[in-house]
């Protein structure tokens, strides 16, 4: 057995100071990845700082086409939000298909992107939408935020407060889920934004989520599933594991991209 101190923070600044005071602290939101890891004794933080009850980190607002989602907002809240469904149904649909009901009612968008699991869905959406991640200290663009496999630009005691993006003209996510975990074997989020077509791939790249430049170029000016057909997706740099090898994933990326574009 080992000891862990649990703290419930009531504001972002309190969470930051609790983390600063902790010897080896960890932020806790929905705990859908962290708690199973702690149960397996693969992580043993000295302190847990629970941010799920912080008011300024909860809720969804849509103002003049700018969507803002609090970092501690659960997947179920995102999936069921009427204003978001109108502004960007692709993100609401993505949230509706994360994991299982237990995960969706506890897991949060901030937790998902801070963990940056290469097979998580949200990182692809944020990258394709060109979202901005607001923390207690600064604003980070999604392009700078997702650094690699489980790596983000966040500092150890930095707290994500909210995520915002401009409602896109079109946006859709298509994933091929692992039937057991529902993690993406490959997932593609395609969005037509004011900055042009943006395509981000989850689950397939061996260094985490990434943008697919060739698909973006093909879709600029020709937003159709046919445009994807002409793009070649190689097996280089694809994840390979017992669930699917690199060539299989490369093919899935192309198929999912076509479905995402056709689904918009």
């Amino acid at each position: 057995m080992y000891e862990t101190k649990y703290h419930k923070a009531s504001s972002v600044s309190e969470a930051v100071s609790l983390m600063g005071a902790a010897d080896d602290g960890k932020l806790l939101s929905g705990g859908q990845t962290l708690l199973p890891t702690m149960k397996a004794h693969l992580a043993a933080p000295s302190d847990l700082v629970d941010v799920s009850g912080i008011a300024e980190m909860n809720g969804i607002s849509v103002n003049d086409d700018i969507v803002t989602i609090g970092a501690a907002t659960t997947h179920a809240e995102v999936a069921g939000n009427a204003a978001l469904q109108k502004a960007c149904a692709g993100v609401a649909d993505l949230a509706a298909n994360i994991g299982d009901p237990a995960v969706r009612h506890l897991g949060t968008i901030g937790g998902s992107i801070a963990n940056n699991d290469p097979a998580a869905d949200y990182p692809a959406a944020l990258l394709a939408l060109g979202a901005t991640i607001k923390t207690n200290a600064r604003e980070i663009t999604a392009d700078d935020f997702f650094v690699g496999l489980f790596e983000t630009a966040l500092n150890d005691d930095e707290v994500i407060v909210s995520i915002s993006f401009e409602a896109p003209a079109k946006a859709c996510y298509a994933k091929f889920p692992n039937p057991a975990s529902r993690y993406a074997l490959a997932g593609v989020f395609a969005a037509l934004t004011t900055a042009g077509a943006r395509v981000a791939v989850a689950g397939a790249g061996d260094d985490g989520v990434y943008r697919h430049a060739d698909m973006e170029a093909a879709l600029d000016g020709n937003w159709s599933a046919d445009a994807i057909l002409g793009v070649s997706v190689g097996a280089d740099g694809m994840l390979s594991d017992m669930h699917g090898d690199a060539a299989y994933r490369a093919n899935l990326v192309k198929v999912m991209a076509g479905r995402a574009v056709a689904g918009c």
Partner: protein, 151 residues
């Protein structure tokens, strides 16, 4: 699981070889290395903290040099215990070839991970191992080039 890589280093072979045997350089290049102590000419003990997503494990291990043929290369073999997390062991054959003023370093590594960390992370172990190996040799190249530049 097997990995390999090739790096062109902007330094003469003698210096690269010396750095490969310099415990202080190795220490700053091994990702997550907290301690590296020389026990004998060919043996070291190491403490390495590994952080992959939510997983944080600390491995205590032994690293040995084998098949030493200066300045062409050696094999580096390591084995570490990470408590409940499991174990990791592996080895790499490192070869140096002169290329004018530069040196080409190639490596072929094998790694094995077992225990809980392997069960939980099986879908990611290979990518992580490849990334760590790449990080090490990139750190090594950068540390060496910086040292040559400042000398």
């Amino acid at each position: 699981m097997e990995m390999s890589g090739e790096y062109s280093i902007d330094a003469p072979i003698a210096e690269v070889w010396a750095a490969l045997n310099d415990i202080e350089i190795l220490k700053v290049c091994i990702p997550g290395c907290e301690e590296l102590e020389q026990v004998s000419e060919t043996e070291m003990t190491a403490k390495v903290a590994l952080k992959i997503g939510p997983v944080k494990a600390r491995f205590n291990g032994v690293v040995t040099f084998e098949n030493i043929t200066p300045p062409e290369g050696y094999s580096i073999v390591g084995e570490g215990q990470g408590g409940v997390a499991g174990f990791a062991k592996g080895g790499a054959d490192v070869r140096l070839v002169e290329d004018g003023d530069k040196t080409v370093l190639t490596y072929q590594a094998k790694a094995q991970v077992g225990g809980k960390i392997a069960q939980l992370g099986s879908r990611l172990i290979k990518s992580t191992a490849a990334k760590l190996a790449d990080k090490f040799f990139k750190n090594f190249r950068d540390a060496l080039v910086a040292e040559v530049a400042s000398a």
